[in-house]
Amino acid sequence: MFTYVLRRLLGAVPTMFVIVTIAFFMIRLAPGGPFDLERPLDPLIMQNLERAYNFDKPLWQQYFIYLGNLAQGDLGPSFTRRDFSVVDLFRVGLPVSIQIGSLSMLIALIVGTVLGALAALRQNSWVDYMVVGTATFGITIPTFVIAPLLSLLFGVLMGWLPAGGWGTWKHMILPVVTLSLPQIAVVARLTRGATIEALRSNHVRTARAYGLPTRVVVGVHALRAAMLPVVSYLGPAAASLLTGSVVVETIFGIPGIGRYFVQGALGRDYTLVMGTVVVIALFVIVFNLIVDILYAWLDPRVRYD
């Protein structure tokens, strides 16, 4: 197992290299640059700026400068937020995104599996219809509709919670609910399907035949098998949740890192976009690895040696 993890981690290095290289040149292909504003700058001032940020050097030189800095953990200065380095921005934003993302994940996992399992056990009953109906609803309504609605309802009309902003635990409730609702829906549906299938599988039938109590049959044997598709879904989902959501952060005014991707891309903030790409890629790689390890633990048939 240990050698497997090590091998995977080593394999991530060339993957990261390819991602960084492609991203570096792709963002440069986009027309314009970080200093193009609605009102163009004096050519002389533009020259001064380009010199200050190495933009006057050939692209391949800039690429190697970037790679060299990246290897030392330096993601460079941000062009659109010049009082901060990209690392500074992530130091402030990442903990915020992780807090909200992991809370939503946790809620989605617990509520989703419980609802899904209940629906599976009471298949074709009103409980099942309720869960499936609500889940379909939850998946189809986009967050950019739910978020302002929740903010309007609980923030403006009722005044129970802050309509937006960041600071106390109260500020977290609405964004976490918004983020977890569609995840709950997906997890519930996956759990339901997988549990129904697991309940019909041979090893569960065997467990029943042994006369094990239903609690054990469902809780240990069926659910464990049913978790496989949920886990493989949650890996990439976690990577995207923890790296922040543009929509939720913008609507609730949360200082996470989700917005940097869009702000960086629109402002041609090359280093900020690159930094976001690196962070997201890292999260995806790590979570895929976690999923694979969990797989081996959940399903005894999977072996990585």
């Binding site: 314009g32 009102r39 001032i45 200050a52 009082d83 921005l89 903010s151 309509a163 952060e249 917005r259």
Partner: protein, 530 residues
Amino acid sequence: MMKSLLSATCLATVLLTAAPMLATAQAEVVYNRGNDTDPTTLDHHKTSTIPEANLMRDLYEGLVVPNAKAEVVPGVAESWEISQDGLTYTFKLRNDAKWSNGDPVTAGDFVFAYQRIQDPKTAAPYANMLYPIVNAEAINKGEKQAADLGAKAIDDHTLEIKLNAPTPYFLQLLTHQASFPLHQKSVEQFGDQYTRPGNMVSNGAYMLEAFTPNDKIVMRKNPNFHDAANVKIDVVNYIPFEERATCLRRFEAGEVLSCSDIDNAQMDYMKEKLGDQLHIAPYLGSYYLPVKVKKEKLADPRVRQALSMAIDRDFLAKEIWRESMLPGYSIVPPGIDNYPDPVFLPYKDKDILDREDEAKKLLEEAGVKEGSLTVELRHNTGENHKNTMTAVADMLKNIGVNATIVEMEGTGYFDYMKNDGDFDLTRAGWIGDYSDPQNFLFLFESANLGFNYPRWSNADYDKLMAEAATTTDLAARSKILRQAEELFLKEVPAIPILYYSSTALVSPKLKGWEDNIMNQHATRWLSVEN
């Protein structure tokens, strides 16, 4: 001995812990203030946007400042003299002006700042604001040394500034953040880290306490500010709202006391629900359609005039922009300083149907048959820009001109126009940096390749602009500038269609907010009532 020391320590501890308690007993006045977006930087030499200007106006004080009505009033300078030829300004600095760390604000701080902004290494986007100062441009180009700048400290409290030419709007320029002083010691000590909370020393009514990107910038009242006694708000939290609807919700929830902008889509709702908390004021800006004049089909001024006539500005302002813009018939917005007699397109008050007939006649004269002219309308991404162009295309159809619409993404768009892109008509906007017609008319000087998107070149226009630049008599100068605009409106290389207006939400709890053409509202003039 031991005992008295102990009791002294106890007493000190009690006093120390009690002091902050006493301070918090009088509740702090906090103002949560919506801003358009976060600043690119808090180094005012490197700023260029309006939300940045809002922040700088609170952090720093220039020689002169805009008051609540955006009139120029004394700031760090308590008085000034202008020489007969209009070339030398001598400012007398107030004795009680202090930095937030208690250091006195001296003439040297201004000289240091003015030299730094021209240093090519600073790469300041608004270095040109101070180009009227002797040698400023040459220093910015790297041709002269910083010490050659025409700004000198005669003594700690006397600053002399020499200009290249009489610049009637020079005091207006000094209200811009490019003209603010800098605390030399902290800038030199911290280098590019001097803008960090804890490092930054400022001389305005407020000082920087914290900056969390995408969350808020916290400013606290500067106790060393010379007019601190009249500053009523203790803490300002500048909150960036890229999503205007979010600001509206937080405004309605009472979490912010003002929004710097509104979501036009919700205009009807706000008019009904918020009443006079919704502020719409004329603003120093024009929205116009540059026409690529060197294209054969658009080279004839009669064709351009016909296109202009057919555009129903009232419809655009009311239906597309929901009154967040005003119908525009000139490139210089009315109400500007130093321009008592504005000039407009002659058909400003004519009925649109008559205008269409007249436009058709003009096209005929120019030899353009009905349906034979097709123009491309290009715009950058944005719901309102798109709708504006769609409406314009419809209006042009009424005079037998076909139009196609092309959308471009924002960043590449301005680059494309600047680099002489192959367009027919585009859209562009200009917000004045100071209240003077020159700041709008210079856009179309033939040498101004950065902004003259139509690439219009008219020797008479250039001559008038050059003449205005050296005319000291304000009345005579305004007449020359008027002639220039008259010429521009006859040739319409860019079709003015709208004036900007500033929109804001202002809570009734916030007192002292005066609508003004510059949309400047320094927090020091405001107060909060519960």
